[in-house]
Amino acid sequence: MADTLTRAARSHPAARGRLGASWVQRRDRRGVWFVVPFLLGFLLFMLVPLGYAVYTSLYTYRIIGGTSFTGAANYTQTLQSGEFWSGVIRVIIFAAIQIPVMLAIAFFFATVFDLGVAKFGTTFRTIFFIPFAVPAVVAAVMWSFLLEPQFGPFTRLAGALGFSGTNFFSPSLLLPIIIVIVIWEWTGYNMMILYTALKSVPRDVVEAAILDDTPLWKIIVRIKLPMVRSAIVMLIFLNTIGALQLFTEPQILASFYQGAVSLNYTPSVYIFNTAIAGDQTNLAAAMAVILALVIVAISAVSLVFRLRRGEIR
């Protein structure tokens, strides 16, 4: 109805103003102003910084000689740096383990609560979601205390179970510990998303499956799971992007256990240390740009994936 109105208004001769634009078009143009504040912020705080970072990355500051244009030198230096790549590999391993485990747990409980096959579902869901309200810093602090190599409760528990002398922050256990912390932080959030997705599966489809005498496992795996596939895919991408930027948890743990976390532990940590501790802002800029590009590439893949399936209008 609104379209007919619009079309009629546009074509009526009296509707055309002096500049030839119909009142409908003029009205529509006013909509720009609604979007302008955001776009302004977007420009100033996303595009300009990015542009400036690219600009900075093309220069290098030397104590002798000051800042000079070096072109791609910073980029080649980064891409050839073993330290940079070891950080990259580390986050990839991190993501490869953390994400599937977390999603499996999240999907398991989302399904359980959606089906209602456990008691006190609402209470549990609220509890699981609480970590979302906990800043990563606080989470890292809490777990650092719990896992403290000499006095922490879990260390003592390990001792009681016969694993005395466990140092949760030793190189071999550090990454698994970070994985546990991140799982603790994010499972509830992912579970909520999956729960909502599962709830939006039409009830009558499941009823039809029941009438077809479908066993429960099949209902979950062959009917509900495929119907929430888009949510799962998006969670994978979202979590991957977050995982690749891992920063806070290693950084806080480093405060507690110097030496456990290397300066290049993750790309973001490396960038931070390069910029602040090392005062090499140009190099850091180049690294940030590379990291951004990698992540944008992954996001773009997911975006194309979703556009193709017609999920974004």
Binding site: P202, D204, V205, E207, A208, A209, I210, L211, D212, D213, T214, P215, K218, I223, P226, M227, R229
Partner: protein, 428 residues
């Protein structure tokens, strides 16, 4: 032994709402029964209780004589078609139809054969590889039916399968469903809110309102002998004209300022409340179907001499009984081509429909001069104009009478008091 038997079935929700109350009916083998009523009357809830998707508060459901209250819907041997089809969106048509067979472990060859058979019955052979989102509404509906019939269940349940289709497709699919029903031969319980669907498709119709069964019988019986005001209003379009009237001591009907001699008085059926004789001086609700209001001679001016199509009928009626007349003011004339609807007003109060206070769309606040309280269906050649005062002839034998307090029917047209000569066979 009936295929489906409901005994005193009730459903009360935790919130206290009673959806179904004391529903009893049975569906014979191979019978097609329509469960019909307005939204919220409990028909879908009743159907779901038969399916086992809704818990039963009290009463029993029997399938092929066996009480199935506590039997899981998985093993009740029923096929169900949902209102929104409930197809598995990520599976092909073939996989949708064959899903239940796959669950049972039917070997692939056998499964494919049966799927193809079911698809052929419904004209879906060329669509087997498609997914539901690539199908039209009518095609999806047929896939839903295919899924139900492939298991060759003893009973079919259908929950308003046609309500999401456009009008033309609906008419087509009505015939389709009946054809499939006849081919398969299983007992079918069919829920709809559309009384036309119910009337045209059902071997028997059950009318529900407010969770209670209003009447259960063959379509023609419900039309000719509605058991109460609700059924009288619900079945038939345009609605039956209903008015508040009184019977005076001489047995005439007093409608506002008009009087109608009743001639023979309708006799009550067994179990009905007080016969009409005992009601002298008391109020009564009288109903007359739009097609039973005939335009008297002299009013049909469009074609001289030929008279209205109803002339012969009314002549014989008026001859034998002395037809009564009702004067009315025509307000609006609707020429439909095949007939003319004359919307009129007579100076008798219309019987108030208690449900109308709820549904706003039926409340007209027309300007006083345009208020109407009746519709007549007339021959298409009738020349009637808005603002005219006309005199309808009405055969008292075709009047329906209802008790104003209970709403139950008191007597039906065509019933003759035993002392009346020449009892005419019920032509309805």
């Amino acid at each position: 032994m009936s295929a489906i038997g409901l005994e005193n079935l009730s459903k009360v929700y935790a919130s206290g709402v009673t959806a179904v109350s004391g529903l009893s009916l049975d569906v014979d083998e191979g019978e097609f029964v329509a469960l019909v009523g307005p939204s919220g009357c409990g028909k879908t809830t009743a159907l779901r209780m038969v399916a086992g998707l809704e818990t039963i508060t009290s009463g029993t459901v029997r399938l092929s004589g066996r009480i199935v209250n506590d039997v899981s819907p998985r093993v009740r041997d029923i096929g169900m078609v949902f209102q929104n089809y409930a197809l598995y969106p990520h599976l092909t048509v073939a996989e949708n139809i064959g899903f239940a067979l796959a669950n049972k472990g039917v070997p692939r060859k056998e499964r494919n054969r049966r799927v193809r058979e079911a698809a052929a019955t419904l004209g879906l052979q060329d669509l087997l590889g498609r997914k539901p989102r690539q199908l039209s509404g009518g095609q999806r509906q047929r896939v839903a039916m295919g899924r139900a019939i492939v298991r060759e269940p003893a009973v079919f349940l259908m929950d308003e399968p046609l309500s999401n289709l456009d009008a033309k497709l609906r008419v087509q699919m009505r015939a389709e469903i009946l054809r499939v029903h006849q081919a398969i031969g299983s007992a079918t319980l069919y829920v709809t809110h559309d009384q036309v669907e119910a009337m045209t498709m059902g071997d028997r119709i059950a009318v529900l309102s407010g969770g209670r069964l209003q009447q259960y019988g063959r379509p023609r019986d419900l039309y000719a002998r509605p058991a109460n005001l609700f059924v009288a209003r619900f079945i038939g379009s345009p609605e039956m004209n209903l008015y508040q009237a009184t019977l005076d001591d001489s047995g005439d009907l007093v409608l506002g300022s008009q009087r109608l001699a009743l001639g023979g008085r309708p006799t009550p059926l067994e179990g009905r409340p007080a016969p009409l004789e005992g009601r002298a001086g008391r109020p009564v609700i009288v109903g007359v179907r739009p097609e039973d209001l005939l335009l008297g001679p002299g009013e049909t001016t469009s074609s001289s001499g030929s008279g209205s199509a109803s002339a012969s009928d009314s002549d014989s009626a008026s001859d034998s009984l002395g037809a009564g007349t009702l004067t009315a003011d025509v307000r609006v004339v609707e020429p439909l081509g095949s007939e003319v609807h004359a919307i009129f007003s007579i100076d008798a109060p219309a019987a108030v429909d208690p449900d109308l206070t709820a549904s706003a769309e039926e409340t007209d606040d027309l300007l006083p001069g345009l208020a109407y309280n009746g519709v007549a269906r007339l021959d298409p050649r009738t020349a009637v104009r808005p603002g005219e005062r006309v005199t309808f002839r009405v055969d008292p034998a075709r009047l329906h009478f209802f008790d104003p307090t209970t709403g139950l029917a008191i007597g039906w047209p065509g019933d003759r008091a035993p002392d009346q000569a020449g009892a005419r066979a019920d032509s309805a």
